[in-house]
């Protein structure tokens, strides 16, 4: 049980504030975020396609954060769920002619199902071993997708039709699609917040803190961890499905292990185990990739440097540092 004694990097120790004040600050922050995101495309300053991508990644990062931040499990293979969601949604929409809502549903269901299988294998180990196991299993999934005929290997599934959501909203209209993606994101965000603050979430936290003790209290901890894993996988699948429709393609990039690393980076930059951290991290990283695209492979180098800097100096991430600063300020005042 050595893994259990070192609380996972979540560092949730100091990060998660409690009390009514913090709750109010959180609601305020949520409203500001929602308002900002709703208004941004109207300004015409930002390429809406970029925003949609960023939101998809934000869902993905939040899903990942659910696992590391609240269960203390670092999955290094979350790309497999993103990719699965994408491939299934793309395939069902393109080949089987599913409308977008069904395609997305199929994508997230498939990701959840794979999550259940992978979870069953992976949660037998903790800490580093869990990370490596998920990484290796995701690489296996990668090879399967590389060879499965329906994914078209390196070529990917291209020209995915966007269709009409519920037969009403024409998703090939960028504006319409943007608000749909925004709605999906906000719902997913609220759902995750609810999961964290549910009785189920409390037990997850207890398991993260001291698993043998939770067992001795009569909790079948494996089931809770598995459930959390499946939830996280499903939400990652949601991100992948929506992203496939946004980008109109599904490809190996989304299943490759570098993508798994990228989502870790997003959460690390934003703040592991904080509720807004992953969103901010996702936006920052995607923006960086977007605006530094001209630098070619240097983007990778810059990402690596950020990774190192975060681990060495800013383990709390942007949001974590802000919270810590706020707490320090309020402590000063007292």
């Amino acid at each position: 049980m050595t893994g259990a004694t070192h609380a996972a990097p979540a560092a949730a120790s100091g990060a998660a504030p409690s009390g009514p004040l913090a709750a109010r600050a959180e609601i305020l922050a949520f409203l500001v975020m929602a308002g900002l995101l709703a208004a941004l495309p109207l300004t015409g300053l930002i390429y809406p396609y970029f925003l949609m991508q960023a939101l998809c990644f934000a869902i993905f990062a939040c899903a990942f954060n659910l696992l590391i931040g609240y269960v203390g499990l670092l999955s290094f293979g979350h790309a497999m769920f993103l990719g699965t969601g994408g491939y299934i949604a793309a395939h069902t929409a393109k080949v089987w002619g599913f409308p977008p809502e069904l395609a997305i549903l199929a994508g997230l269901a498939a990701a959840g199902a794979i999550g259940a299988v992978v979870g069953l294998l992976a949660i037998r180990r903790q800490g580093i071993y869990f990370a490596m196991t998920t990484l290796a299993l995701s690489q296996m999934v990668y090879f399967v997708y590389l060879q499965a005929p329906f994914t078209h290997g390196e070529d990917g599934i291209q020209s995915v039709p966007q269709g009409r959501l519920f037969g009403l909203f024409d998703l090939s209209q960028q504006q319409t699609f943007y608000y749909v993606v925004l709605a999906v994101f906000l719902i997913a965000f609220l759902l995750i917040r609810r999961i964290v603050n549910s009785p189920f979430g409390d037990i997850l936290k207890a398991i993260r803190e001291n698993e043998p003790r939770a067992i001795s209290l009569g909790y079948r901890t494996e089931r809770y961890k598995l459930m959390a894993f499946v939830l996280s996988a499903t939400l990652a699948g949601l991100a992948g499905s929506v992203k496939a429709l946004v980008a109109q393609n599904a490809s190996l990039t989304d299943v490759h292990w570098t993508m798994s690393g990228e989502v870790v980076l997003m959460c690390l930059v934003g703040g592991l185990g904080t509720i807004f951290g992953p969103v901010i991290g996702a936006v920052v990283i995607i923006a960086m990739q977007q605006y530094l695209a001209g630098f070619g492979q240097w983007v990778l180098v810059i990402q690596g440097v950020i990774f190192i800097a975060c681990v060495l100096a800013f383990r709390r991430g942007i949001v974590g540092e802000i919270i810590a600063f706020a707490q320090w300020r309020s402590a000063e005042k007292r």
Partner: protein
């Protein structure tokens, strides 16, 4: 039948690389409790070091075999001193994340400089040619790779499992502060161990250069398979990583013969099965 033997020999060659790399990972993991994600990058740097030595200094393969691990090992020492050192006492996952970042940086820099396609590195003159084994042509160079890596693996095993130095290493893995309080300069030991593990990776890189060409991404995907090897073996013992490495190479070879489509996934399938039956891996210690 011929093709079967052929595939087995090719598998054994791959196994040599698995064994060398997972051995280095195990040594580093043992001492620093870090999964060295940058291992693939150091492997690649080993190959590049050989390339530079040849093209810039005119030093050939045999020199590279000695100098490249030293050079890359020195880089490892530097990395440990300047970065990893600051992570002692933190959750082990931070080590994984830091070395992941490091891998991105190293690979990115090389990719910018050298593109992502391969640079040729010639087989040394002494090892050119092939033996006709009847069932296949075995290039001399590949035979050399198998034999040489086996020797390196066994020597490493001997030092760690059978000498006092090894006992210090293993003890310091668990409680570095205490071992230090017994009078042993643990930080230096850690630094040198990391350097040694990295040097093993670089050595594998030199061995691979004539086979795989010298490519910035040569270690990137390969290392994930090695991780699977490590999970299967269980990190419990040095011998475990050696045996698992070679064995999985052979199994891959078998798969290539009987069902080539599965050859890239077979290692992972085995990993899944092992996890079901023995969650701690074949040679792993129980918690």
């Amino acid at each position: 039948m011929q093709a079967l033997y052929g595939q087995l020999v090719v598998g054994l060659i791959n196994g040599s690389f698995y064994a060398l790399l997972s051995l280095g990972l195990a040594v580093i993991f043992g001492m620093l409790n870090i999964i060295n994600f940058a291992h693939g990058a150091f492997y690649m740097m080993g190959a590049f070091a050989a390339y530079f030595l040849l093209n810039w200094a005119g030093l050939g393969y045999w020199w590279a075999l000695v100098l490249a691990p030293l050079m890359v090992g020195a880089v490892g020492v530097l990395v440990e001193r300047t970065m990893l050192q600051w992570l002692t006492g933190l959750d082990h996952l931070y080590g994984l994340l830091l070395t992941f970042g490091l891998a991105l940086v190293i690979q990115g820099v090389f990719q910018n400089e050298f593109g992502s396609s391969g640079l040729p590195y010639a087989i040394p003159a002494e090892l050119r040619g092939a033996q006709n084994l009847g069932f296949m042509f075995l290039p001399n160079y590949r035979a050399w790779v198998i034999v040489f890596s086996l020797v390196v693996c066994l020597a490493t095993w001997f030092v760690i499992e059978r000498t006092k130095l090894g006992a210090y290493l293993r003890a310091a893995t668990e409680r570095p502060e205490l071992v230090r309080a017994f009078g042993i300069d643990v930080p230096r030991m850690i630094t040198l161990t990391y350097g040694f593990g990295v040097a093993l990776a670089a050595l594998a890189g030199v061995l691979a250069a004539p086979i795989n060409q010298v490519r910035p991404l040569m270690g990137a995907d390969f290392i994930i398979v090695v991780f699977a090897v490590v999970v299967i073996g269980g990190m419990g013992s040095i011998m475990g990583s050696i045996v698992t490495g070679f064995a999985l190479g052979l199994i891959e070879g078998l798969t290539k013969y009987f069902y080539p489509e599965a050859s890239s996934t077979v290692v992972f399938v085995i990993m899944a099965i092992v996890l079901l039956v023995k969650p701690n891996g074949l040679f792993g210690r129980t918690a």
